[in-house]
């Protein structure tokens, strides 16, 4: 069954919703953990809130969207609300392999002056997390979606609820900011 069919089926029988939870638990779990250093319990609580929100809003699901984009949107919004409730500033949280993925992805999507190439690999790994943490939230979110979640521009637009033109602009500016911080660290 496709995700979209599962959404329709969940409206008739909640057991199908369990299948959606299974499919997205890890993805959303990674996504929220990347945005912050959460404990296992906090991650689980947040994921539960996210899936309950998804369940409550199943009738709002727009069938022109991918379920994953819609789900990520709710996960993103719930994560932000969670931080606001706790009054803390989210901190980036990468696994080692994720750091490397991020660097490779941003390298492949090269900037006009290939600034990433200028740093030694070890040096870059040390700096990238620090630089990302210094970035404005909107830039940090867009870089995570683009270079860690590896989402397309349209999907990013659907997740963050912004026009595609704005997605390109934000990615460009975010990379510029990242370059600035990487250079200054």
């Amino acid at each position: 069954m496709s995700d979209e069919e599962l959404v329709s089926a969940s409206l008739k029988d909640q057991k199908y919703f369990g299948e959606l939870v299974k499919r997205y638990e890890d993805k959303f779990g990674r996504f929220v953990r990347r945005k912050a250093a959460l404990s296992k319990e906090d991650t689980e609580d947040l994921l539960q809130d996210i899936f309950i929100k998804i369940y409550l809003n199943l009738n709002a699901f727009d069938r022109n969207l991918k379920f994953s984009s819609w789900g990520y949107r709710i996960a993103h919004n719930e994560t932000i609300s969670w931080y606001r409730k706790k009054s803390i500033r989210p901190q980036i949280n990468f696994e080692d392999y994720e750091e490397e993925n991020f660097i490779n992805n941003i390298k492949n999507d090269s900037l006009e002056d290939d600034f990433i190439e200028k740093f030694a690999k070890v040096e870059l790994k040390e700096k990238v997390k620090l630089a990302l943490d210094k970035l404005d939230e909107k830039y940090k979110n867009i870089l995570i979606l683009k270079y860690l979640e590896e989402k397309e521009y349209t999907e990013i637009g659907d997740i963050l609820e912004i026009p595609i033109g704005t997605v390109s602009t934000l990615i460009y500016r975010a990379k510029k900011e990242l370059k600035k911080y990487l250079t200054n660290i």
Binding site: S10, L11, Q14, K15, F17, G18, V21, K22, E25, D26, G29, K40, T43, E44, L47, Q48, F51, I52, Y55, L56, N57, L58, N59, A60, D62, N64, G157, E161, I162, P163, I164, G165, T166
Partner: protein, 274 residues
């Protein structure tokens, strides 16, 4: 993370708390209300723009130098601030309501703003052709400062000035060389001839504005006759625009009238004293 645990925990919570998805109609009505707000805001923006268009169509630029006040003062006072503020307020409501609709985020704010503004402007022009701008301007009262003057009030202030050679009123009792202009309980007999610019407007019941000279015998001699209303409302004189019309007609005027039109109030008063 233990998958079975989270999945069953969530399903258990849904079951225990009797959580049900919000109904389809809840979201339908929400989106429908937002689109309703967009449409209503565009209508209100149009209604705010209609009097602005009406006022700017009636600026009487050709006569600014004849008024009692400085041109700067004239322009500052003629700007319809309340309607401009309403238009900005409603267009912003339209723009933000649009952005909140289901797919509204896909459109750039600037484009939404521009599209709302263009639609509102088109509606405003249409409304204005049915005299809605005039109607709103005539009936608007500033509830906060009570300082708003309608175009009608300002026009009466500027044109109901026989002492300065400016007259406004309704035409009646036409003869071959004069007509009577009624302004409330006062009637003025105004002379004209076949060369008087705007003489085609002299019809019983017509509202007109007149610039005239007064000679020693107190005879009022029309220099130019202008329609009271804006050209787009006044179908008969659609082509008559104060500024263009006045400059075109100046060539045909008598010298003393030319002086009145060209030199403005100061010259007019000087002439009158003579």
């Amino acid at each position: 993370m233990n998958q079975i645990n989270l999945e069953s925990k969530i399903l258990q919570k849904i079951h225990d708390d009797k959580i049900k998805p919000k109904s389809f109609w809840y979201f339908f009505i929400k989106d429908f209300s937002l689109w309703g707000a967009v449409v209503l805001s565009i209508i209100f923006t149009s209604l705010s723009l209609a009097p602005i268009i009406f006022i700017f169509e009636n600026l009487e630029i050709g006569f600014v130098k004849h008024l009692d006040q400085s041109p700067t003062n004239f322009y500052i006072h003629i700007i319809p601030y309340p309607f401009i503020l309403f238009a900005i307020f409603f267009i912003l409501i339209a723009r933000f309501s649009w952005a909140k609709t289901k797919n509204g985020y896909k459109f750039e704010g600037k484009k939404v703003f521009a599209v709302s503004a263009i639609i509102s402007l088109i509606f405003a022009i249409l409304l204005n052709n049915f005299a809605v701008g005039k109607l709103l301007d005539d009936n608007f009262h500033d509830p906060v400062f009570d300082s708003y003057k309608s175009l009608h009030d300002r026009r009466m202030e500027n044109w109901n000035r026989p002492d300065l050679g400016r007259y406004i009123g309704i035409v009646n009792n036409i003869s071959t060389s004069s007509f009577t202009l009624s302004q409330k309980d006062i009637e003025y007999v105004i002379d004209f001839d076949n060369e008087t610019p705007g003489m085609e407007l002299i019809e019983v019941g017509e509202s007109v504005r007149v610039v005239a000279t007064i000679d020693e015998e107190q005879t009022i001699d029309a220099c130019i006759i202008l329609p009271y209303d804006q050209p787009s409302i006044h179908q008969k004189v659609r082509k008559i625009d104060s500024l263009k019309y006045v400059s075109r007609m100046k060539k045909q005027m008598k010298d003393e009238c030319k002086q009145v039109i060209e030199m403005g109030r100061a010259n007019f008063l000087k002439q009158k004293n003579i």
